[in-house]
């Protein structure tokens, strides 16, 4: 199987799975089996792609030419493969979890749910393997529309309202600033292909480049940079597996991944480094702090996690804006670590909701006793997202601080330190609330007895969070190898 | 003086045109509008023929004594235009008859509220008899 065939397989497999799901819609178990087989197949294909990847043989594969110069082209390159790996890896787990979750919730229209899931993954693969900005935009748009039915799944009044805002933000930002920026780049640089070292160097003066960077930063609505982050909390109306998909696996990761590719292959890292990205650094840093603060005020579990995602994603935007090879490395690692950390938290939140039918933080006091394993998983996830050492989340923070020190932006260093503390501030209380607090806190010495309405936590909803939590720890160890894999592209020599 | 006379027909045509259009704009009655339209079109015919006139020319019928003839082309064009005018008038009148039967009035002020887009679909009082009859046949 040559690389081209692998790439095509990676994209077409999810779509084929979607079709098969639609066909086998009536037989529930068969349909679930199809999803899992599809997820496994995708994981294998992507693994072979990553394993067999060598930079020399990565020739582009042109599929179609929509407009002269606006080609649909695929090309495998390290950052893309990392994103593809994350997406493919977590899809299986997410499917497993959603089977447990959706059945426990007796959700209607599950066939459409799984089919759209598969289609969304297909788009994510296309984004990962896109060879130029044109293909990326096509897949990016397709992803927005593929995830709309997922967000509006319950089709309640609130769901429709939330989905409408979700769509308004994403389509508005992608149709106006993003498309505008793409066409501007296309005209300024003559081509849209991703070329290491960037294609815009010298084509526009720095002032215009800064404006273009801003258009991209706000054009890619999925990166949820403040103040255009509104769609993320409003997408919380979706069922939890979808929130997990949106916030960890596909949608938001596609957003920041796009920013990374634009920084590395369109602008070129040094170009951003020489001052083009400075204003964006300020905005991104502010976004991190403000989002963390807002997260602390949210009593609803999923809303709190949503704002946490906004903060963590702003860090990747920060990495892009710093314009340092180390920062880009931090961005790539954050993309992976946050995916695993945040999906654990969402699995946890969903499991809590299943077990106790409670969504709000204040209501889940003292259930730690019943599901200790789940709580430990949530703790691991929280600490990994916060960036504490034994977990993978530490690496991106460390590299970001390193980059900030290199550019001697002391204010930024303080911000990053503060953000770690704030993240702890809003994540650890979840664990405390569940583990150590008694259901009624008025008398401190009361021992949390058995919870009265005993929600059944299906085994399927318990395994994924534990696996991803373990993943966080494993990633802590695997981080250097990921960096080595990505280093040649982002000009980060001298790695062991 | 010669100048004034020279261009007088055109100015008269323009005056007629504007009157015709004014009638269409200002008058509420649909048939009145059609007649205004007719006046407007006839004034155009006068313009065309005025263009074709040649001083001292005779009607474009070849004859031995005459040498200078008026321009035949405008006459041909106007022949066509007259018939087109009548065709449009005929269809317009047929429409106004149907509107009268469907809405009970052919005054623009009264028609406006009845034809506002927000109204639900109504096929009009007369529809029961007219097209429904036709529809019975087709229903199996």
């Amino acid at each position: 199987m040559t690389q081209h065939q692998l790439m095509l397989a990676a994209i077409l497999l999810p779509f084929a799975t979607a079709l098969l799901i639609l066909v086998t819609g009536r037989w529930q178990n068969l349909r679930e089996a199809v999803t899992l087989v599809g997820a496994a197949g995708l994981a294998i294909v992507v693994f072979k792609l990553i394993a067999g990847f060598d930079a020399a043989a990565a020739a582009p594969l042109v599929l179609a030419e929509i407009l002269p110069g606006f080609k649909v082209m695929l090309r495998a390159e390290p950052i893309g493969l990392v994103f593809a790996g994350v997406a493919a890896g977590l899809w299986g787990l997410n499917s497993l979890y959603s089977i447990g979750y959706m059945r426990a919730e007796h959700a209607p229209r599950q066939t459409r749910f799984y089919a759209c899931f598969a289609v969304a993954l297909g788009c994510a693969m296309a984004i990962a393997l896109s060879g130029n900005l044109a293909t990326l935009f096509v897949a990016y748009e397709a992803l927005t529309f593929a995830t709309y039915p997922l967000v509006v799944h319950w089709q309640s009044e609130g769901a429709i309202q939330g989905a409408r805002r979700y769509l308004a933000y994403l389509v508005a930002t992608s149709l106006v600033p993003f498309l505008g920026a793409i066409v501007w780049t296309w005209i300024a640089a003559g081509t849209l292909d991703f070329t290491p070292g960037g294609i815009l160097d010298g084509r526009l003066d720095d002032g215009l480049l800064a404006v273009l960077l801003f258009m991209f930063a706000y054009g890619v609505g999925k990166a949820a940079l403040m103040p255009l982050h509104g769609w993320l909390p409003s997408a919380m109306v979706a069922p939890t597996p979808v929130s997990a998909l949106l916030h960890a696996v596909a949608v938001v990761k596609a957003g920041v991944f796009t920013l990374l590719k634009i920084a590395v292959y369109i602008f070129g890292i040094e170009v951003i480094g020489r001052g083009v990205g400075d204003l964006l650094v300020v905005v991104a840093a502010a976004s991190v702090i403000v989002a963390s603060l807002m997260a602390m005020t949210k009593d609803d579990l999923k809303a709190r996690l949503a704002y946490s995602t906004v903060a963590q994603l702003a860090m990747v935007t920060l990495a892009v804006a710093l314009g340092e090879p180390i920062a880009i490395a931090a961005g790539v690692l954050q993309l992976v670590m946050h995916a695993w950390g945040k999906i654990t938290l969402f699995f946890g939140a969903g499991a809590i909701q299943l077990a106790t039918h409670k969504k709000r933080l204040s209501e889940i006091a003292g259930i730690g006793a019943e599901v200790p394993l789940l709580m430990v998983a949530i703790l691991f996830g929280a600490l990994s997202v916060a960036g504490l050492p034994p977990f993978g989340g530490m690496w991106p923070k460390f590299l970001l601080i390193e980059a900030a020190v290199d550019k001697d932006m002391t204010v930024l260093v303080v911000c990053l330190g503060l953000s770690t503390l704030l993240t702890l501030g809003y994540l650890v209380p979840i664990v405390i609330q569940a583990f150590f607090r008694a259901p009624h806190d008025d008398d401190p010495h009361h021992l949390p007895e058995k919870h009265h309405e005993e929600g059944d936590l299906p085994i399927l909803a318990l395994i994924p969070p534990v696996v991803t939590a373990a993943g966080c720890v494993v990633l802590f160890v695997a981080a250097p190898s990921i960096l080595a894999f990505v280093a040649p592209v982002i000009g980060l020599g001298g790695l062991p | 003086m010669k100048d004034l006379v020279g261009l007088f027909p055109y100015w008269a045509v323009i005056m007629l045109m504007m009157t015709g259009l004014y009638i269409v704009i200002a008058q509420g009655n649909l048939v009145k509008k059609l007649i205004g339209l007719g006046i407007f079109q006839v004034s155009v015919f006068v313009l065309y023929i005025a263009v074709g006139v040649v001083d001292g020319g005779t009607p474009p019928i070849l004859d031995d004594e005459f040498a200078v003839y008026s321009n035949p082309l405008p006459s041909v064009l106007i022949l066509t235009a007259i018939v087109v005018g009548v065709a449009t008038l005929a269809v317009g009148l047929a429409l106004s008859v149907r509107i009268r039967e469907a809405f009970g009035t052919i005054e623009e002020e009264d028609l406006l509220p009845l034809t506002a887009p927000t109204h639900p679909v109504v096929t009009g009082p007369e529809a029961e008899t007219d097209t429904n009859a036709g529809r019975e046949e087709t229903r199996p």
Binding site: - | Y10, I39, G52, L79, T80, A94, E108, T129
Partner: protein
């Protein structure tokens, strides 16, 4: 002298147009539009365009006035009193536009100026060559039938489309089915009408073919003849009742002949094409003026058939429509 007459007629036209604007009785307005057309005929004759005058008289004045009155019968005679809101804005815009147009015409070549481009570019060819190429004295008919024959075909189709439209719009149950008997004469009023009609209609029946076939030599042709015959049939229908007219010329036949007229016109064109010539190139029927003569008579006949039947059909549709 002539220019005085012209100014007089134009002034009359203006006066009629303005009075139409202020009349509220639609019947009067219909009459005025008829008078307006007839004044135009006089003007056209003055402007050396007898063919146009002839057509305007028959079609413009005759048929459209009849149709308007027939429609008023159904639609109601009086315009709503308060309905006429003097549109000040419309008046202002119309005057401004008029002034702009007047300013625009200042550079036009003078009325009747022989050296004007219109009379020096294409027209001389028609005047000099038509004798040799087409061989009929009436240049208007030659241009109408041959040089711009395609336009006339288009125009015949327009007439046919109008008939088609009115048939669709005013078909249906609202119109009572056509009988085949004679309407009972109303003793007191119809005597004068009937006697004049019995004298008048045969006259027109002869006039129509004359105008049709003499069109090559004197003002006339398919349109005028059709309108005259149509007028005659409408008069017959008016006086002796629609059912009598239907007995004489059944509506079914009228529809077929109307269609055949168009097909005849188009057919001549198709035949010339099949004979290897361009569409509507009458030289296919024979070299020189003889071919043209055959072609012209054929298309004139086609036009005559269509116009006659369509005019009658239109009137019939309006006449048999039941009053709401």
């Amino acid at each position: 002298m002539e220019s005085l007459l012209m100014i007089g007629l134009l002034a009359a036209l203006g006066a009629i147009a303005i009075t139409v604007a202020f009349m509220s009785d639609l019947l009067v307005v219909a009459m005025l539009s008829g008078i307006f057309s007839f004044t135009c005929c006089a003007l056209f004759v003055l402007f050396d365009a007898p063919d146009v005058a002839f057509t305007e008289a028959c079609v413009g004045a005759g048929v459209s006035t009849v149709l308007t009155i027939a429609a008023i019968r159904l639609v109601g005679r009086h315009e709503k009193r308060g309905g006429r809101r003097a549109s000040v804005v419309g008046l202002v815009v119309a005057t401004v536009c008029g002034l702009a147009l007047v300013y625009g015409t200042l550079e036009l070549p003078r009325f009747g100026d022989p050296a004007s481009p219109a009379s020096t570019h294409v027209a001389p060819h028609y005047i000099e060559e038509s004798k040799g190429e087409i061989g009929i004295p009436n240049i208007v008919t030659s241009v109408l039938g041959s040089y711009r024959g395609y336009d006339t075909m288009g125009e015949t189709v327009v007439v046919f489309t109008a008939a088609l439209g009115v048939l669709i719009l005013l078909g249906g149950a609202q119109s009572r089915p056509l009988g085949r008997g004679e309407a009972p004469a109303r003793r007191d009023r119809d005597v004068i009408l009937r006697t004049v009609a019995t004298l008048f209609i045969p006259m027109t029946l002869f006039l129509a073919p004359y105008v049709q076939f003499h069109g090559a030599y004197s003002p006339g042709g398919g349109f005028q003849a059709g309108a005259i015959l149509g007028g005659a049939l409408i008069l017959y229908g008016l006086v002796f009742g629609i059912d009598a007219l239907n007995k004489m010329v059944p509506e079914r036949i009228l529809r077929v002949i109307a269609a055949l007229g168009v097909l005849l016109y188009g057919g001549t064109g198709v035949v010339t094409m099949l004979m290897g010539h361009a569409f509507l190139d009458y030289y296919a029927f024979g070299a020189g003026p003889s071919g043209q003569a055959i072609g012209l008579t054929a298309i004139e006949l086609g036009v005559f058939m269509t116009v006659t039947c369509v005019m009658t059909l239109l009137f019939q549709r309006f006449a048999i429509r039941g009053v709401m």
